[in-house]
């Protein structure tokens, strides 16, 4: 099962770009402010000479693994708000853990915070079950009230004299440098646990995330897996709390996973990408906060800078992702000639389907090549444009066969409709002969706007057939899946 990227080169280039670019871009901006050479700083930070920095990077690695893996499942299960709530609900537990030992004892805090997180999750489902409130309302309420309790408790602790309360504010904003040996052990342990569970239980987790009811119907322990996921999530959030802070944890959990979601269509690829992105965002964020220390403020928390890096990655993916990125979509839109080729190819496929009375969903490439009187390779080249735009897919069964996607079929119907309407207009209103209108319609079909087409249709009194007796696809056909209707209507039109 090798992941297939339809556009590996641009995709890889993007990845490399994403990992290479930030260091340069930030260098350009920050170097004006920094007296020390940023390159030296970069080398010093990432060469692992400094024990403290080794701790930070190790922490980011573990956190990235946790958040990449668990965040992906959280995102595809549409539980992003659950993650957010959990990360706020753990705060009172931190305070209680601290009160219990009167110091920043990692184990006590881990225990307290995990308990508080699970209590928060239980409260949410309890509210949902016993009232008519929906999940979003229950989550919002629990998030705010648990967080409020946490803030009050921590403010109380700050007023207790003779207690070493330094570093408590790290739990709000995050400070990766505050990670101790015990913290790292816990982060590492959680990362190993998450990895083992996600690898071993990948398929059941996938099935239960995609279709809970079906998963239960085949006897998968859906509830158990869900609770396991929630427990891991609570643990991952708690151990990352010091590095990222309660306020920013959900950003690190959700953002890398959503970025990965934009970049791939396969879950296992999404898991790997999200992990890589989360690690990169964590490390870069820690580095930025390290560099920015003493510049922006005397202690720059790591949480916000990590969240900013994750957000930066998301923005890059949003703009440049090969399929749905704004930039690539815009560039596709721009190339007019390419668009005309695409539309003519769509039209050829539509005509072939029409001559089969829409009984077949796929059209053989050889046949299209024959219809267009061109070589197989030339036709394939044109068809690949459609595939790249998500308008069709290939399959090989006794030679290459092209299958339109629903979007492709819509687009094809739209072009054919424009063409036939324009032909009808020319013959009816401009007194062209029926055999003279085709060439003109070939040009006009690509430039008719939606409004003009509608006006044309109204003007021609909603015609059903073009001058050659072929059916004009209706507005409905161009807006939703027409195959069935087309097949039915085709029967009607035939004498």
């Amino acid at each position: 099962m090798t992941p297939k990227f339809r556009h590996s080169p641009p995709f890889l280039a993007l990845l490399i770009f994403m990992f290479a670019m930030p260091s340069e871009a930030h260098a350009a901006k920050i170097s004006e402010l920094v007296e020390v050479d940023l390159g030296d700083q970069f080398v010093r930070f990432f060469s692992l000479q400094d024990a403290a920095i080794r701790h930070i990077l190790l922490g980011c690695l573990f956190m990235g693994i946790n958040f990449g893996l668990l965040g992906s499942f959280v995102v595809v299960r549409r539980m992003a708000l659950v993650g957010d709530t959990l990360s706020h609900a753990v705060l009172p537990g931190v305070a209680v853990g601290f009160l219990f030992t009167m110091s920043k004892e990692p184990w006590a805090i881990l225990l307290g915070a995990t308990m508080a997180g699970l209590l928060g999750a239980a409260t949410v489902s309890w509210i949902q079950r016993s009232t008519r409130l929906k999940q979003d309302a229950a989550l919002g309420m629990v998030l705010a009230s648990f967080f409020a309790v946490g803030i009050c408790l921590i403010k109380m602790i700050e007023r207790i004299p003779s207690v070493n309360r330094s570093g408590l504010d790290h739990f709000f904003y995050g400070q990766a440098a505050a990670l101790g040996r015990a913290d790292l052990w816990m982060m590492g342990g959680t990362a190993v646990l998450s990895t083992i569970i996600v690898v071993l239980l990948y398929r059941p987790l996938l099935a239960t995330s995609f279709d809970q009811v079906f998963a239960r119907s085949i006897g998968l322990p859906e509830r158990m897996l869900f609770h396991l996921l929630m427990l891991l999530l609570a643990l991952a959030i708690v151990v990352a709390l010091q590095a990222v802070g309660a306020l920013m944890v959900s950003a690190m959990l959700i953002t890398p996973a959503t970025t990965a979601f934009l970049l791939t269509k396969r879950m296992h690829v999404m898991l790997c990408l999200a992990t890589g992105l989360a690690i990169a965002a964590g490390m870069l964020g820690a580095f930025l906060s390290f560099v920015g220390e003493g510049l922006v403020s005397h202690t720059l928390p790591t949480g916000p800078s990590m969240a900013l890096c994750a957000g930066g990655f998301f923005l890059l993916a949003f703009l440049f992702s090969p399929h749905h990125g704004l930039v690539s979509r815009y560039r596709r839109h721009l190339s007019q000639t390419r668009q005309i080729t695409v539309e003519n190819t769509l039209k050829a496929i539509y005509r072939a389907m029409e001559s089969d009375r829409f009984k077949e969903e796929g059209i053989a490439v050889r046949r299209l090549a024959g219809d267009a009187r061109e070589t197989f390779e030339e036709t394939m080249k044109r068809l690949r444009l459609l595939v790249r735009d998500g308008l069709a897919t290939f399959a090989s069964a006794r030679g290459e066969v092209i299958y339109l996607t629903p979007e492709g079929l819509q687009h094809a119907s739209r072009v054919v409709r424009n063409h036939r309407l324009w032909e009808l207009y020319l013959t009816n209103e401009a007194d062209y002969d029926a055999d003279h209108v085709h060439a003109d319609a070939e040009k006009v079909e690509h430039i008719l706007g939606e409004d003009q087409v509608m006006e044309l249709e109204r003007y021609l009194d909603y015609p059903e057939q073009d001058p050659h007796g072929k059916r004009i696809p209706s507005l409905r056909d161009t807006q939703r899946l027409p195959l069935r209707d087309l097949a039915v209507k085709e029967e009607e039109v035939e004498p």
Partner: protein, 267 residues
């Protein structure tokens, strides 16, 4: 089919006095049916008649508040490998990052258990299932890139990959194109000719007559169950779809407000 002689004698599905409640509000009362193998059964009734509820209860997804369900003579939850379920397709998120093949392979997970990976045999079975619903060309497509009919065919292929003896389908004909509709009809007949039993929730009266062997007519309780020609009587359909059962549904509403105790007293 491993042994057609033995299975042709046993009753595939039997319910006795089955009552199911959602949030303490009963949606299905005292249902008795017993279905022989090799049958193509339509489950029909107006909206809210308890059609999906019946299927979910048979699958063990809802706990009955009274009565029992037996599949092949055993408790329904112990027979999961012999039962395949096709949910309504709008119940899942079709933007989920998986391909058509990934989803169909999920049909094998029940046989694989928690830790085993699908092997070559599982892939072959999945491919075969895809072939039966004419979806092989779409095997590596991401599921967000499918039409409604194609989505439905993916769900059917997933159920076929389970290699079950009893199939439960929740409204497979809703919102599909002509190609899919004829694929489903062929598929149902093919399954029946293999001696499998299929229960299909359906809502279109005219087509029901040609698709099914027998019908279960529901409206909160069983109105009729039998061969299509016997059930397709105006009087029975009137009782299922006409307003004559308003009293019972009012009772259902009323008991919903009260506690379970009231209900058991009524029964």
């Amino acid at each position: 089919m491993t042994d057609p002689t033995s299975s042709s004698q046993e009753i595939v599905l039997e319910t006795h006095d089955l009552t199911v409640a959602y949030d303490k509000k009963p949606v299905l009362y005292g249902l008795d049916v017993s279905i022989a193998p090799g049958q193509l059964v339509g489950i029909m009734g107006p909206n809210g008649a308890g059609k999906s509820t019946l299927i979910k209860a048979i699958m063990g997804l809802l706990d009955p508040s009274g009565g029992w369900i037996k599949i092949f003579g055993e408790s329904n939850t112990s027979q999961r490998k012999r039962v395949a379920y096709v949910p309504q397709r709008r119940e899942v998120d079709w933007d989920f990052p998986v391909t058509v093949m990934d989803v169909v392979l999920m049909g094998r997970y029940g046989h694989l258990g928690l830790f085993r990976r699908p092997g070559k045999r599982d892939r072959d079975i999945a491919m075969e299932a895809l072939e039966k619903v004419n979806m092989i060309p779409y095997a590596s497509r991401q599921i967000s890139n499918l039409s409604g009919g194609q989505q439905q065919r993916v769900f059917l292929a997933r159920a076929l990959a389970q290699e079950s003896d009893l199939y439960l389908m929740d409204e497979p004909f809703v919102g599909v194109d002509a190609a899919t509709e004829s694929t489903i009809v062929d598929l149902l007949q093919d399954l029946r000719s293999q001696g499998k039993t299929i229960l299909v929730v359906h809502h279109d009266l005219p087509t029901a007559r040609q698709y099914f062997d027998s019908l279960i007519l529901l409206n909160l309780r069983l109105i009729a169950y039998g061969p299509v020609e016997e059930v397709f009587k105006e009087e029975l359909l009137q009782r299922a779809y006409g307003g004559r059962l308003t009293i019972l549904s009012e009772v259902a509403d009323a008991t919903g407000e009260k506690s379970k105790v009231d209900l058991s007293a009524k029964r």
